[in-house]
C-alpha cells in the first residue's frame, strides 16, 4: 500500500477517532453541562489573573508586560493543547498498559504511537487554546512589535516545536509504564514543567534560567516561540529549538519501539 493511501487512511481514522470521542462526551448530558461550566470558570480565572498583570507597568526579566503576555498566551495555548490531547490520550496509555487494552491497539494495522497519541479528543481544552491565541495577538499588538510574515511563520514554527517537545516528553514518561506499569502521575510532572513556562525564562533567578534552557526545555516551550513572534529570537536559539524538537520526536519513537519489545501484555 502506498504511503499516500496510508496517510489518507490514518487521517480518516483520526477523524473517526475524534468524532467518536465527541459523541462519547455528548452521551452524558449533565456531565457535558458541568464540563462547560468548569471550562468557563477556568477561563474567567485566567482572565482575572491577567487583569492583575495589566494593572502594573513593571518589567518582567527585561520583558515589558505586553511582551510577557505573548509568553503567557503561548503557555495558555500549550496548556489547552495538553488538556485537549495529551492528558486524555497519554493518561489513557498508562491505563491501557495496566488493563491490557493496549493489545487491541497493537493488533491494528496503524502506527501504535499515532493511535495512542490521538485516539481521544477532549473538547474542553479548545476554549483555552483560543484564549491563548487571542493573548498572543493582543500582547504582540500592544507591545508595539510590528511582526512581518517571516517572524509570524518562524513564531508559528517554534510554537509547533514547543508542542512537539512537550508531547514527546509526555509520551516518553507515559511509555515507561510498559516497564514500571504503575508510575507516578506523569501528568503532574509535565504540568509543573509547563507551568514554569508561564513567564519568560529571564524572569527566573540565573541558576534556574540555566536549568530551564539546558536540562529542562522550558525555554523552548514558550519563551523562544514568543521571542520569534516578536522578532527578538537569535538564530542559535531557533535552531536549538528545532533540533531539540526533532530529536525529541525521534527519541520518543525509538523508546516506544524498545518498550514494545518489553511489553508483556496484562495477563488474561
Amino acid at each position: 500500500m502506498g504511503s499516500t493511501s496510508t496517510i489518507r487512511r490514518h487521517a480518516r481514522s483520526i477523524a473517526r477517532f475524534w468524532s467518536s470521542s465527541l459523541a462519547a462526551e455528548m452521551e452524558y448530558q449533565l456531565n457535558l453541562l458541568i464540563e462547560v461550566a468548569a471550562t468557563l470558570i477556568t477561563l474567567t480565572g485566567s482572565l482575572f489573573t491577567l487583569s492583575l498583570f495589566f494593572g502594573r507597568g513593571q518589567q518582567l526579566g527585561g520583558w515589558s508586560w505586553n511582551a510577557a503576555l505573548v509568553v503567557l498566551g503561548i503557555y495558555t495555548l500549550l496548556n489547552g493543547f495538553s488538556s485537549t490531547l495529551l492528558r486524555p490520550n497519554l493518561g489513557n496509555l498508562v491505563k491501557q498498559v495496566q488493563s491490557g487494552g493496549l493489545d487491541f491497539v497493537l493488533l491494528k494495522p496503524m502506527d501504535s504511537q499515532i493511535w495512542l497519541s490521538l485516539r481521544t479528543l477532549s473538547p474542553w481544552g479548545l476554549p483555552e487554546m483560543v484564549l491563548g491565541l487571542a493573548l498572543v495577538v493582543v500582547g504582540t499588538i500592544r507591545s508595539g512589535a510590528k511582526p512581518h510574515t517571516t517572524a509570524l511563520l518562524t513564531g508559528g514554527l517554534m510554537v509547533l516545536a514547543g508542542i512537539t517537545i512537550l508531547y514527546s516528553l509526555w509520551f516518553v514518561l507515559a511509555a515507561t509504564s510498559i516497564w514500571f506499569v504503575k508510575i507516578w502521575n506523569a501528568t503532574e510532572v509535565l504540568r509543573s514543567l509547563l507551568a514554569a513556562g508561564q513567564f519568560p525564562v529571564s524572569a527566573y533567578p540565573p541558576a534556574l534560567r540555566v536549568v530551564f534552557s539546558t536540562i529542562l526545555p522550558v525555554a523552548f516551550l514558550t519563551t523562544v516561540p514568543a521571542e520569534a513572534i516578536l522578532g527578538l529570537a537569535s538564530g542559535g536559539s531557533l535552531l536549538a529549538g528545532l533540533v531539540l524538537a526533532g530529536l525529541s520526536v525521534v527519541g520518543s519513537r525509538a523508546l516506544w519501539r524498545l518498550a514494545l519489545r518489553h511489553y508483556t501484555s496484562a495477563s488474561s
Binding site: R16, K108, T264
Partner: protein
C-alpha cells in the same frame, strides 16, 4: 503449505515473588526476589489453511501466551514462528490485516457508544470504504443475529450481545486466521451455541483458519476435529479428540443397574469402582478387557441394564488438569 508454523517456540517471564504480611512487603520493597517462569517451552506444531483447531490446557499452561505470540503481541524468547507468511513480532500492517485475536475477557468496543460507532472506527483503520464496510456489517449482523442492538450503547447490551458485537469488530476486516481466547467465557448456553454456529458458518463461508481455546469442552467437540493439548508450556497431544480420549482414558465406563443392592466387594474383580450408590454402579474397565468383563458381569450379577461409554471428555481433561501432571503413556 501451513499457514501457522511454530518451531521450538519458547517464552519466559521474570516474575517477582512476595511473602504475605508487613515483613514480607518490606523485604519485597527492599530486595525483590525474582524468578524466571517458562510459560512456553519448545513448542512445535503447524496448522493448515482452513483448519479449526482446539487449543487445550489447564490454566497457566501457556495457551494465552502462545496466542499472543502468534498474533504479534509478545516477542518470543526463542524459536521460530510464522503466521500467514509473516513473522508476527514484526507486526507488519499486511500481517495484522490477515489475522485477528478475540479475547473473551477484554473488549475493544467503545463503552458509551453503540457498536456501530466502533465498527466505523475499525472500518477506517482497516481502510474499508463506507459501502464495503456497510456490506460486511450487514453480513456479520445477519450471521450473528444482531439488529437494533447495534444502535444501542455497548453498556446497555447483555454479555452475549456484547460478545457478538466484539466478534463483529474483530472480523470486519475479514481476517484469514482467527485466534480465539475463551470467546464463550461467561455466556449462557444459548449464547454459547449461537457463537459456535457462527464460527462454524464463518469457517465454511470464508475458509478461515481458527485456533480456539475454551474451557467449555462442547465448543471444542462441536468445532474442532483436531486438538492441541499443552501442559506446562509443552505440547502433549496433537490429533483428534478421540485419540486424546483413548490416550488419556485407556478405560471405559460401564454403568450397571442392578436388581439388588450389592456390597462394593462384589465388583472387585471387574474393574475400578467409580461410584456405587444403591443399585446404580459405575465401573472403569480397561478397554482390552471390556468384552470379557461385560460378559462376566452379565453372567455373574443380577443386571437389569448395562451401558458402556467413554467417560466425558470434561472429566478426563479435568482430572488431568487437577492432577497438574501428565504421565507420558
Amino acid at each position: 503449505m501451513a499457514i501457522v508454523h511454530v518451531q521450538g517456540l519458547c517464552r519466559s517471564f521474570r516474575v517477582s515473588e512476595k511473602d504475605p504480611g508487613l515483613a514480607g512487603t518490606l523485604r519485597h520493597f527492599l530486595r525483590r526476589r525474582v524468578r524466571t517462569v517458562e510459560a512456553v517451552r519448545d513448542l512445535h506444531f503447524t496448522i493448515e489453511p482452513g483448519e479449526m483447531v482446539g487449543f487445550l490446557g489447564p490454566n497457566g499452561a501457556g495457551k494465552t501466551t502462545t496466542l499472543k505470540m502468534l498474533s504479534g503481541l509478545l516477542h518470543p524468547s526463542g524459536g521460530r514462528l510464522e503466521v500467514a507468511g509473516h513473522v508476527p513480532a514484526r507486526r507488519e500492517a499486511e500481517f495484522l490485516r490477515r489475522i485477528t485475536l478475540v479475547m473473551g475477557q477484554k473488549q475493544q468496543l467503545i463503552w458509551d457508544l453503540p457498536p456501530l460507532d466502533s465498527l466505523r472506527v475499525n472500518a477506517a483503520v482497516y481502510g474499508l470504504d463506507d459501502r464495503e464496510a456497510a456490506r460486511r456489517i450487514s453480513e456479520l449482523a445477519e450471521m450473528l443475529e444482531l439488529g437494533e442492538e447495534l444502535h444501542r450503547p455497548v453498556r446497555k447490551l447483555s454479555l452475549g450481545q456484547r460478545m457478538k458485537a466484539e466478534l463483529m469488530a474483530a472480523l470486519l476486516h475479514r481476517p484469514e486466521v482467527f485466534f480465539l481466547d475463551e470467546p464463550t467465557l461467561g455466556l449462557d448456553v444459548n449464547a454459547q451455541a449461537a457463537m459456535r454456529r457462527f464460527l462454524a458458518d464463518y469457517n465454511r463461508r470464508h475458509g478461515a483458519t481458527v485456533l480456539l481455546t475454551s474451557h467449555y469442552m462442547t465448543d471444542i467437540t462441536a468445532l474442532c476435529p483436531r486438538v492441541l493439548l499443552i501442559h506446562a508450556g509443552s505440547l502433549f497431544h496433537d490429533g483428534s479428540l478421540e485419540q486424546l480420549t483413548q490416550r488419556l482414558a485407556p478405560r471405559r465406563e460401564v454403568r450397571l443397574e442392578l436388581a439388588d443392592t450389592l456390597p462394593d466387594s462384589a465388583f472387585s474383580g471387574y474393574g475400578e469402582i467409580e461410584s456405587c450408590s444403591g443399585r446404580d454402579v459405575r465401573l472403569l474397565v480397561d478397554r482390552d478387557r471390556l468384552t470379557t468383563v461385560v460378559g462376566r458381569l452379565l453372567a455373574d450379577l443380577p443386571v437389569l441394564d448395562l451401558e458402556v461409554r467413554d467417560p466425558p471428555i470434561e472429566d478426563i481433561i479435568g482430572r488431568l488438569f487437577r492432577q497438574g501432571s501428565i504421565e507420558q503413556p
